[in-house]
Amino acid sequence: MLSFIVQRLFQSIIVMISVAFVSFALFQFVGDPINNMVGQDATEEQRQLLREKLGLDKPWPLQFANFVLNISQGEFGMSYRVGIPVDELIATRLPATIELVLVSAVLSLIVGIPMGVYTGLNRNSWLSRLFLSLSLIGISLPTFVIGILLILIFGVWLQWLPTFGRGGVVDLGWWSTSFLTVDGWRSLIMPSVTLALFQLTLIMRLVRAEMLEVLRTDYIKFSRARGLKNRSIYFGHALKNTLVPVITITGLQIGSLLAFSIITETVFQWPGMGLLILQAIQFVDIPVMSSYLVLIALIFVIINLIVDLLYYIVDPRLRIESRTESH
């Protein structure tokens, strides 16, 4: 068990260092790094001071080490576009995205998994066929089209829900949450449904496919031959075996949600990381871009670690205990 964790941690660190290197390269080689760090209004004196402080006359491996030290303390420099420190900028935007992603993830799981199980167990019912047809449309509908349609119906025509912004927000320290106001929740509905829909259909299809595979196995056939009750077979044996690969996909799903949140935030003008990075790309705001890169990599790495750990806990075959052999 220990060696497993250590191995995984080691790989994660390597990934983070590579990403940090790409980030560092962006800083160094695109434009004047000093410009990237202090914005356009700094005087020549300030620049020279910074040059010395940053040790830009030193060989680059040392600079890289310095860079890693800085970013691990959250020091990313100044946004080229907005002129405030990047870490502050991220702090104002991160909560919006995290809350949106969280709500969408929960939504897609609690709807997608049962739908998948149902369509796997009841292959030929009309409801299954309906779900499957809807799911096909679901994966063909791009996220932004869903968002636009929802805005059109619920925002423009019916005028039930707000169509942009987060609504009422409460500050808990540096974290601003929309969970504590009715208005905040109302504003969350359309964006989270939009974001969840794509993932929901993916999860449903995956769970269904896994379920069908599992139901064809010998051990399910053997459990039938032993006369086990349907409930034990389906919700005991079949479900547990189905959910194991679903765990990985859920992990991937968080990553996917983060990516698609960029689109959703654009459609609904949701003030999160997505809008931030888009503006950064268009403006070639290097500090923001490179910090976003590192942040995303960190989140992915952590998710991968958690998924690996979960896999280890759930699937006994992965635990390399000493096999007690005897004939």
Partner: protein, 323 residues
């Protein structure tokens, strides 16, 4: 051995509908299994042995289905029971053992859990007693240190040990009949003998009848009381093991026995039957074996020979006319 049949199959027909028409996998077969006896079912791959076994326990892979005949178990007709009624019979009255012990066990559950689950479904024991029963069963099938190994996972057992666990699971609720579908094919030769001996011993002790499906005549000779020879979905010959092996009647059985090399035999070429068993969609008219038979007659090409009783055996061949 009592000559009281616990299972009798009459004119069983199993078909698979396909786009190109119905394929008949089991064609009008009849046989009986007596209390406590071991009936071997031999034949080539595709002869219909496994499907016969599956249809008795009601687990034919869809889209196959029973299209004719009856299956009677303990004076009750079981071929057209509802799913729930059939479920109460499976495990408790009729058990089944499959070929591959690795895939027969759920890799994510400890074998103790798989055992107690089965025990508690059929017998009303509480958790503690169910676990004790499970440990006893494991000891009975020859698993060392059963009180420790009961909490292990399937992948922690070797192939032979796993099959023992599978047998324990099949015998949990003391069924009257076990259908063993190629139980040793996936195992090492050295282990095969052990497993067969175990099966034989347990079934004698529990007075369980066994339908032993295999293509290995050696296993049959060792274990079975009677044997049924299947060919292309039909029964060719059924009789006592000694009779079928030493005095085979059906030309196919004769060919089979001749093709087994004997120790001390001084021959250069192995004997084989010319041709091969036809595929399900290419079964010839009349007797299915006639194109390969060295004693074929005109009648064989036109009409299917019925199964008749001849002394202690049953045979379906025009060489043996009914009285």
């Amino acid at each position: 051995m009592d000559k009281k049949p616990i299972l009798s199959v009459h004119n069983l027909q199993v078909e698979f509908p396909t786009r190109k028409g119905n394929l008949v996998a089991v064609n009008d077969i009849s046989f009986e299994v007596n209390e406590g006896e071991v009936l071997g079912v031999v034949g080539e791959s595709g002869a219909g042995k496994s499907i016969t076994g599956s249809s008795i326990i009601g687990l034919i892979d869809p889209p196959g289905r029973i299209t004719g005949g009856e299956i009677n178990f303990l004076d009750q007709r079981i071929d057209h029971l509802s799913a729930e009624e059939m479920r109460t019979i499976r495990g408790k009255e009729i058990g089944m053992v499959f070929q591959d012990p690795l895939t027969s066990l759920n890799p994510l559950y400890r074998i103790g859990r798989q055992l107690t689950e089965t025990i508690q479904t059929h017998l009303h024991l509480d958790d503690k007693n169910a676990r004790l029963q499970a440990i006893n069963l494991l000891a009975e099938v020859g698993i060392p240190s059963p009180e420790i190994r009961i909490d292990h996972y399937p992948h922690q057992f070797s192939g032979g040990m796993r099959q023992r666990v599978v047998i324990a699971l099949a015998l949990c609720a003391n069924p009257k009949l076990i259908i063993a579908d190629e139980p040793t094919t996936a195992l090492d030769v050295s282990i095969q003998a052990q497993i067969i001996a175990l099966l034989k011993k347990l079934c004698k002790e529990h007075k369980t009848a066994v339908i032993l499906i295999t293509h290995d005549m050696g296993v049959i000779a060792e274990t079975a009381d009677r044997v049924a020879v299947m060919y292309a979905g039909k029964m060719a010959e059924i009789g006592k093991v000694y009779d079928v092996i030493k005095k085979p009647k059906h030309p196919y059985t004769v060919g089979l026995m001749n093709s087994i090399p004997k120790m001390g035999q001084d021959t250069e070429a192995l004997m084989q039957i010319e041709g091969s068993m036809p595929r399900l969609n290419e079964i010839p008219q009349g007797c299915a074996f006639h194109p390969r038979c060295n004693q074929v007659m005109e009648q064989c090409k036109k009409t299917v020979p019925p199964m008749i009783k001849l002394e202690d055996s049953n045979i379906a061949c025009w060489l043996y006319p009914s009285k």
